[in-house]
Structures are given as C-alpha cells and as structure tokens.
C-alpha cells in the first residue's frame, strides 16, 4: 500500500500532522508537475523543504507578504497550476482573508491553503500567533472546503485527497506538534465530507475536529468507566459538514458535545448546531472551545487545560446534558 499512498504506519511514527503533510508533498512533487508550492519566508516550518528538494523550480518564496502570496496563487491557478499555499493559520485565514475571499473563493480557484499552525498550537507565541477564528471565518466563504485531520495517518491521506483528489478552494488545517495516533490502520475510509465514527455509543455524541479528536477519544474511554456510553465522531471536514451523521446522533443519542480548539463563535460547534436547529431537532448541545476571548500567556497544554479543552471540561459538559435529561 505504501507505493499507492506514499506511506506506511511505521513511516509516520513520531510524526506530527505537519510532518506527514510534508512527507506526502515530497511524493506529490514528483507525481504531478502542476502542483506548485508557495511560502511566505517559512519553508522549513511549513514542511516544504522535501517538496523543494524534489522540485526547486516549483517553489515560490514570497517573503513575509501573505496577501501577495494568496493572490499570486490564484494567478498560478488561472494559468493551470495547482497551487499549495502553506503558512500559519492567522496569516492565511485572517491577514490574507480578503485575498482568500475574492481571489480564491469568489473566483473559485483550485488553490489549497494549508495552515500549519492553528488554534493554540503556537502556544507561548501568544494570541497574535494563535488562530482561534479561522474556522469561523472560512466557513462564511462560499465555495470553500475546510478539512482538519486528527492524526498523522489521517493527514497523510487527507493531503493527497485534498491536493490531488479535490478541485476547488480548500483550507487544510494541520496539527503542528507530534500527537498520539488515533488509528491502528492505514485503511481509515477517509472521504472529504464524511465524518469518521471512532467509537459507537448511545448515551451522548462527542464531535471533534483536528487536534482535540485524540483528547475526545481518550475522554470517551474515561466516560465508559463511569457508565456513560459516548459516541465519538471525527468531523475532519467542517465544511461541507456531514449533516447525516449529526442527525443520526440527534436521533440515536441523548445530546451532543462539540470540541474544538477555536472560538465557539462560528466554529465547529455552531456548524453542528445549525444542522440540528435547521432540522427542527431539539437535541441539547454544549460547545467546548475558547469562549470568545484572547488567551493569556501559556504553553499550548496549559492553555487547553485552562480554557477547558480537557477531559474535565468535556466530562462536565456531558454530565450537564445527561443530568438535565434525567429530570
């Protein structure tokens, strides 16, 4: 299988999502000449070095000018290239938001924006380097697809699916650091737009995207010990969201808790909520995420704990739903 996909489980061991993407990009460099890579003075940190080694002519370093970078990618797409624009979330999705909006989404260009640091991944870098708003902002752009893989294996598969298997504007959010793998096989059944059921359950549904998926799965095991049977959905594609699986959850479980590493305004939680209320369901929902504030200084781990993106935070939310229902 390694030949087809460019990786094996073993080869991805100890890799971050970022690393896995870089590894697959190196393969893609050799496979498809149309793929070009843009960076804003961050080639190494955005894991573009291996691509560069295979195709130096097809890498454009735009310097610290992300707006120029994004619009230039649109131009490359007009001329028939498949541009991959790699950068930090806050720069791609926020600094260059207007360029994403007009030149990529409105113009409906086949450009893949790859954010190698989103949420609180930049940790002590502080709020200017965090990106808690990207999902909320990108969701409001018509024509865009938003994918947030939850592990190295999923990233490796998603990278290929997004860059070569998908045509159109796409925002891919990578996990920056090394996180535990959630799959024990390369054959995960990844399909853009279709959430993956990591654990079946009938009491409560936990829906997460990106880095918090591992935490969510871990928490489900803790809940199990307390007699709460939690369903865990990996909503790797936030837009278009998997409406069917959400509605199934409203019918088959007693509530939903969403977990995201971003502002609860406009992100995954609200995307799930929209599906629920647009279909006249009255399922209770709790959103775990950043409650509309910029973060204090701290490491990513400390900030997660502080802002309730934690086992405790999730369990509290679950119990607040189930306790209510017992009344």
């Amino acid at each position: 299988m390694a030949g087809q996909q460019g990786f094996t489980m073993k080869s991805l061991e100890y890799m971050s999502g970022r690393d896995a993407y870089g590894k697959i990009m190196a393969e893609i460099a050799k496979e498809d000449e149309r793929v070009v890579l843009l960076t804003a003075d961050a080639l190494g940190s955005t894991k573009g070095t291996a691509f560069y080694n295979n195709a130096p002519d097809r890498v454009f370093n735009m310097g610290i000018a992300e707006s120029n970078m994004v619009t230039t990618a649109a131009g490359l797409a007009i001329a028939g290239k498949i541009p991959v624009v790699a950068g930090y979330g806050f720069l791609l999705a926020i600094h260059a938001a207007e360029q994403v909006r007009v030149d990529i989404c409105y113009a409906n260009k086949n450009v893949k924006l790859v954010a190698t640091a989103t949420g609180l991944a930049m940790g002590t870098g502080g709020s200017t380097h965090h990106c808690i708003e990207d999902v909320s902002i990108m969701r409001a752009f018509p024509n865009i697809t938003i994918v947030s893989p939850a592990s190295a294996i999923e990233t490796a598969i998603a990278t290929r699916a997004c860059i070569l298997g998908h045509v159109g504007p796409l925002y891919l959010r990578l996990i920056r650091g090394v996180t535990p793998e959630i799959y024990d096989t390369e054959d995960i059944g990844f399909e853009i737009g279709k959430a993956i059921i990591l654990k079946e359950g009938k009491d409560i549904t936990l829906i997460a995207t990106g880095e918090p998926v591992y935490l969510t799965l871990k928490t489900a095991k803790v809940l199990e010990k307390e007699g709460i049977d939690a369903r865990v959905l990996n909503m790797h594609t936030v837009k278009p969201i998997d409406e069917k699986i959400i509605l199934k959850a409203t019918e088959e479980t007693k509530g939903i808790v969403t977990i995201e590493e971003g502002n609860v305004i406009g992100g995954l939680g609200d995307a799930v909520g929209s599906v629920v209320y647009e279909n006249d369901k009255t399922t209770k929902i709790r959103k775990i995420g950043i409650n509309d504030e910029y973060c204090k200084i701290g490491s990513t781990e400390a900030l997660w704990e502080y802002y309730g993106i934690s086992e405790d935070g999730i369990i509290k939310a679950v119990k607040s739903i189930l306790k209510k229902r017992k009344k």
């Binding site: 070009v36 000018a65 120029n68 230039t72 649109a74 490359l76 007009i78 001329a79 030149d103 113009a107």
Partner: protein, 273 residues
C-alpha cells in the same frame, strides 16, 4: 505589429466609437463609473485592437496574452470593448447591472474574456504575477498586461507585488497605470500623494516609461516595446484625464461614478458624436 500611421488613425477612430458606446451603455443602464471608464478608452483600444494576442472564439487558448482589469470598476469601459471584439454578445450590453447579468459594475467571470473577477483594488497585479510565474515556469512567451488605477496604488498589496515581480524577473508582466490623478474623494496628490511615481516603480526594480495615455501612437509604440528591459517587469504610467471626452466630466473627481441628467446627456452626445 508595425505601427503605421494608418493603423494609428484607424485605432483613434475605434477609440472614439468605443467612447460613445461606453457612455451610451452606462447612461442608459442608470449610471456608471464614467470617470475611470473614459480615461482608459485609448489604453484598452490600443491593447485589444493593436497589441493583445487573444481570440474571442478560444477563451482557453494556451498561447494567448492575458489581460487583467485590476481597476475593476472600469468594467463599464471594458464590457463594450469585449462586446465589439466578439467576446460577449452585443445584446448583453443592455443588461448592465440587471439581476443575473454577465455584465455589471465590476468584472465577473461570467463575462467571456475576463480572466479574473476584479473590483476590490490591489489584487490585479498579484493575480497577473501568478499567471506570469506559471508562464515562466513553462517557458511560454505569452505576456500578462494589468491595468491599474492610480488611486489603487494606495493599496499595500500593489507594492508587495512590485517587490516580488522584480525578484522573480517577470519581464512578461506589464502594468499600465491609468494616471488620471483623481480618486473618489479628490486629487490623488491630496488624498494620498503618489509622486514621485515613476521613481518609486524604478526603485522597486521595474523598467518605467511615462506617456500620454490618450495618444494612440504613443500607446501603441510603447506597448510594442515591452519588455522595456530583459529580466525586469515593465510599468507604463499613462497620463490620462478622468472623464475624457465629456467636457463637464473632464478632470472632475465627482464624476468617478454618476448619472447624467437629460441636458447633460444631450451635451455629451454632441461632444462624442
């Protein structure tokens, strides 16, 4: 193409006809960006009748030159030209700004011949840069022309591209600046001074020429010379008059966007006819 006197005369006449059609279309639709649509007439006429390698029957022709109207609000001046050249149907001109029309205030991808939708200023040069980069990668000789407004040059993204196009040695990228010296609130030199403009572009590594943007011979001769220098992108500062052709509009920033009353329209028709 050799620029003969008869070609210059012919294109001057076409420019006058284009001007008349542009005013008719915008006025009869209820108003438009007269100022900037009139200042760019000779530039667009020179490009589409004298310089650009394009084929209205083959929009994806791999050998074509690319044109980006970065000052997207000049669409009222662009649509009629695309219609006369056979890109969009002449009948579509009557649908300017109507629900679902292909032809409106700013360029859209619904208009055949438009490479990229514009309207938000400061994006066109960067878009053109992307196309030019691809052409260089593929070693193709096609050129990319980008028409910018001068007020548009206030946008920082323009200067990001001015830097990078020079770095990438994109001598297949040419920008023409419709230097009518007026933006929406008043003269550019009062709102946000641009001078010394030629020196700015030169210092960013571009080869620059400054010409009269209504002198057809000058336009054709200059456009015919691109690239002005190998390995350098080219910049043509075309000095123009906003509202050119209608005496009560010429040089008046208030006519950036507007609608004429009957008296004014009658006067205009006499001047243009």
């Amino acid at each position: 193409m050799e620029i003969t006197e008869s070609i210059v005369t012919k294109l001057k006449k076409i420019a006058d006809e284009n001007r008349e059609l542009i005013v008719k279309v915008a006025q009869e639709a209820g108003g438009g960006h007269f100022g900037g649509s009139l200042s760019e007439v000779e530039i667009l006429t020179a490009l589409y009748w004298g310089i650009l390698k394009v084929d209205p029957k083959n929009l994806t022709w791999q050998e074509r030159d690319y044109f980006i109207l970065s000052k997207g609000h000049g669409c009222a001046g662009f649509g009629p030209i695309l219609a006369k050249k056979g890109f969009i149907p002449m009948e579509d001109l009557k649908t300017f700004n109507q629900l679902g029309a292909c032809f409106g205030m700013h360029t859209t991808l619904k208009m055949a011949g438009v490479e990229h939708p514009t309207g938000s200023l400061g994006h066109g040069l960067s878009t053109g840069q992307g196309i030019a980069l691809s052409l260089k990668l593929d070693k193709k000789p096609n050129r990319v022309f980008v028409l910018q407004g001068d007020g548009e040059l206030n946008e920082g993204t323009v200067w990001e591209t001015a830097m990078s196009a020079s770095k990438f040695k994109l001598d297949n990228l040419i920008t023409i600046i419709d230097r009518n010296k007026l933006s929406m609130d008043g003269p550019t030199e009062e709102i946000m001074p641009l001078e010394p403009l030629a020196e700015k572009w030169e210092s960013f590594g571009w080869a620059v020429k400054t010409i009269d943007g209504h002198d057809m011979k000058s336009l054709l001769d200059t456009l015919n010379q691109v690239p002005f220098q190998k390995d350098k992108p080219s910049c043509i500062i075309a000095n123009t008059v906003k509202g050119k052709g209608i005496s009560f509009m010429e040089g008046k920033y208030q006519w950036h966007y507007g609608y004429m009353d009957n008296k004014q329209y009658n006067e205009a028709k006499v001047e243009l006819g």
